[in-house]
């Protein structure tokens, strides 16, 4: 077993991830077969994984920039809220793209407050973040009462319908249009065959390329872009030193304050963009108070799970996005029930992996959770809807509980920095 696993670890990154993804789909397929459902690998499931994952991804990337510059940003949730409000307002009044821009700016303003408080005044990062979170709620409500109440269909807690930037379906792969000609739906064809595993892969893949919002494309493009920006450019190196050893940066002439500001502003902007996406028709199509449902925090969890690297954040965002998406559309609780078995298998995998590393504690804990989950699965037909609601948070906790210790955050993250104090 170990020999096989190490072989996988030797492959180049993309191949490795493809392999993991394949294994994941395989497990889902198995469980589906066992449970006689097709929800887990349905086109709509992977589609919503992508959709729900995007705000988490954007928030996580935002957190990445901030923390790589050394500032912990708990206020992502609040900046996201600002993004939802400004995004809705901008889109309603000026059109979809302006809505995105407004969301970006709205979130950025939140980032500015955080930056001033933490960088300029040395306020504890967590406190500032928490204040922004709640402050944003108040601001949003205040602004709604001033603005949205005047719109048809608007009120203190919601806005009228919000226009979107438009979607896009890949031609050939998923039957999208090319200049009016409806192309063959290759993946769909494979998906409909009902072939074990192959069809499932096809369906999952199709979901990733069907009705994809442009914002999603932008968000996905940001992943390699962030990697390039942070590790291959001068800007990125200087930003990173602020999060690792700001005194060294200062001694070598880097304006640490500036880069911290920029990092936090970027994080606010990205969180704002996430918010703007949430109000767009792909997700909700409307501004609603409280609609961020903790996704700012989940973005942070994705960041931690991803070990402060863009690709890792994507990994986390897709995982959490999948769970979110499945739960939200699963009214009967049946798909989530099947997910229980998947959870059990995943926990089993974690237990084995931990054991192979000699970590008995983790292995034992994972094993026990696996057993509990399996028992639950076997003794019920559906899951109550409150479980569906909290599943994403539980997944976050479990993930963090097992993986927190292997991670390395930027060395100077969260530390107060004052120039000349070396």
């Amino acid at each position: 077993m170990s020999a096989r696993l190490t072989w996988i670890a030797e492959l180049p990154a993309w191949a490795r991830w493809a392999a993991y993804a394949a294994i994941g789909v395989f497990v889902l397929t198995l469980v589906q077969g066992f449970d006689d459902t097709d929800r887990l690998t349905a086109v709509s499931s992977s589609q919503s994984m992508l959709r729900w994952g995007v705000p988490i991804l954007l928030a996580g990337l935002g957190g990445l920039f901030s923390e790589r510059a050394g500032v912990v940003n708990i206020g992502l949730e609040g900046m996201m809220i600002l993004g939802t409000w400004f995004g809705a307002w901008g889109a309603i009044n000026y059109g979809a793209w302006w809505g995105l821009a407004a969301g970006l700016i709205g979130g950025g303003l939140g980032g500015l407050v955080h930056a001033v408080a933490t960088v300029q005044f040395g306020v504890d990062h967590i406190i500032s973040g928490v204040v922004i979170n709640v402050g944003a709620l108040g601001v949003a409500r205040f602004l709604s009462s001033e603005v949205f109440t005047g719109y048809a269909g608007g009120s203190i807690t919601q806005s009228p319908r919000v226009p979107g930037v438009g979607q896009f379906t890949f031609p050939v792969l998923a039957g999208g249009d090319i200049g009016g000609w409806s192309s063959p739906d290759v993946l769909g064809w494979f998906g409909d065959r009902g072939w074990f595993f192959v069809s499932d892969v096809a369906n999952v893949s199709k979901g990733l390329v069907t009705e994809v919002s442009f914002v999603t494309l932008i968000a996905l493009a940001l992943v390699p872009f962030s990697t390039w920006l942070l590790w291959r450019t001068r800007f990125g190196l200087r930003l990173r030193i602020c999060g690792e050893r700001p005194e060294a940066g200062e001694a070598q002439g880097v304006n640490v304050y500036l880069y911290k500001y920029i990092g936090v502003l970027i994080s606010g902007a990205l969180a704002g963009l996430a918010g703007a996406f949430i109000v767009s028709p792909e997700l909700s199509g409307i501004y609603n108070e409280g609609q961020t449902t903790g996704r700012g925090f989940i973005g942070l969890a994705a960041l931690i799970f991803g070990n402060w690297r863009p690709l890792g954040v994507l990994r986390g965002a897709l995982l959490f996005g999948y769970v979110f998406g499945l739960g939200l559309r699963d009214l009967g609780g049946t798909a989530s029930h099947s997910l229980l078995l998947v959870n059990a298998i995943a926990l089993l995998g974690i237990a084995v992996w931990a054991y192979s590393r000699g970590n008995r504690n983790n292995a034992g804990l994972a094993g026990m959770l696996c057993v509990l989950t399996t028992i639950w699965y076997l003794t019920s037909d559906t899951v109550p809807d409150w479980w569906v609601n909290i599943l994403p948070y539980v997944v976050v906790l479990v993930v963090l509980a097992f993986f927190s210790q292997r991670l390395r955050m930027p060395a100077a993250d969260g530390q107060r920095y004052r120039k000349g104090e070396s």
């Binding site: 005044f121 108040g138 205040f142």
Partner: protein
């Protein structure tokens, strides 16, 4: 540094914060077309009434408990953001357990209080254990646990424990847990208050939990400042490495602090529980943040938190007035609270820097160490 100067410096920050908050809010009010003076006038005149004062104290009580709960964590550099979830769970469980039995008042009330503290403490303890054994950051874990408690566990339990046939007469809530018998309810304090003042009208009753809050405050002060355990806790918050080397067991401290914090948080819901006797289907939320705000403004000090709680309660009470008189939108209150916090924290930071410089100047009798 003379005592006078110390006092001034100590007060300067919260005063500055308040002034800043008032100014900012006035600007916001003006922009939105309201009259700040009319608004403040309405707020103050309303507060002067006895009934409003009772109301104010009633609101301040849970706020104070929330503040102390958060402050215990802050003393150890732990951020217990999960006060919300802890208190709701504690509230729910205590309400249910309390409704199951009927005992002599002292026992019944004690049972309810103990259950509340245990549940709150245990739930907070989970975050503490996760941090100590698995290194999970308590900010994220408490936020997640919050969500799990509120949308998950509470939702599940409230269904299980739904009261049969409606609830107490005289309330507007349709659903909730089974009401607790009178023996389990802490009596109000109107009798005591009315000795000094006139009769309190409008059906307002000063909650007996006020006494509990005072007791908690005193306990907090004594514990933190006068006991060895409190010293251990504070030392860990100031310098965890030095504390460890000084013999303080770090893991145990973290869990202890979280449990204590959660236990106090568990008492937050008692104000409402002791008045109505049951846990409603839709309880008020947002006391968690207010607790953080009170702890920050009050600088983790039992007396300061009390002052902060009163200020925020005042703002709360006023928001109702504002809605009534129309002088300003009630959301302004929330914004004011946010601004106060930020301004206070910044002001404290500035004062701290000023004080440090002052002390460096005065205290060194020997040639001071130069950054060599």
């Amino acid at each position: 540094m003379s005592t006078g100067r110390r006092v001034i410096l100590g007060l300067a920050a919260p005063v500055a914060a308040l002034v800043f908050a008032v100014v900012t809010s006035s600007i916001v009010l003006l922009i939105s077309g309201s009259d700040p003076l009319a608004a403040y006038g309405d707020m103050f005149s309303h507060a002067a009434k006895l009934e409003t004062l009772v109301d104010l104290l009633n609101r301040a009580t849970p706020l104070y408990l929330a503040g102390v709960a958060v402050a215990i964590g802050f003393r150890m550099n732990l951020f217990n953001i999960g006060v919300e979830g802890q208190y709701l769970l504690a509230f729910l469980v205590a309400a249910h357990v309390g409704s199951l039995v009927s005992l002599p008042a002292v026992l019944h009330i004690s049972l309810i209080l103990i259950v509340a503290m245990s549940v709150g403490g245990a739930y907070a303890g989970v975050a503490g254990v996760l941090k100590v054994t698995r290194g999970v950051n308590e900010v994220i874990s408490t936020i997640m646990l919050n969500a799990i408690a509120i949308t998950g566990i509470s939702a599940w339990l409230i269904k299980e424990w739904q009261a049969e046939g409606g609830v107490r007469a005289g309330t507007t809530t349709r659903t909730g847990t089974t009401p607790i018998d009178d023996s389990g309810l802490l009596p109000g304090l109107n009798g005591v208050v009315e000795v000094f003042t006139r009769e309190i009208g409008q059906g307002k009753e000063l909650t007996g939990v006020f006494v509990i809050a005072v007791v908690v405050g005193v306990w907090y002060h004594v514990f933190i400042n006068r006991t060895v355990l409190g010293f251990d806790l504070r030392a860990t918050g100031i310098n965890p490495f030095a504390a460890r080397v000084g013999g303080v067991p770090p893991g145990r401290m973290i869990v202890l602090a979280m449990v204590l914090s959660g236990a106090v948080a568990g008492l937050i819901g008692m104000t409402e529980l002791m008045q109505t006797g049951f846990y409603p289907a839709n309880p008020i939320q947002s006391l968690g943040f207010a607790g953080i705000a009170a702890a920050l403004l009050g600088r983790n000090n039992p007396f300061g938190i009390a002052v902060a709680a009163l200020i925020f309660a005042f703002l709360d009470v006023s928001s109702g007035v504002l809605q009534f008189t129309g002088a300003a939108p009630r959301e302004i209150v929330v914004i004011m609270q946010g601004v106060i916090i930020l301004a206070a924290v910044i002001a404290y930071e500035i004062m701290r820097r000023v004080r440090e410089r002052d002390e460096a100047r005065h205290a060194s009798a020997a040639p001071a160490e130069v950054p060599a």
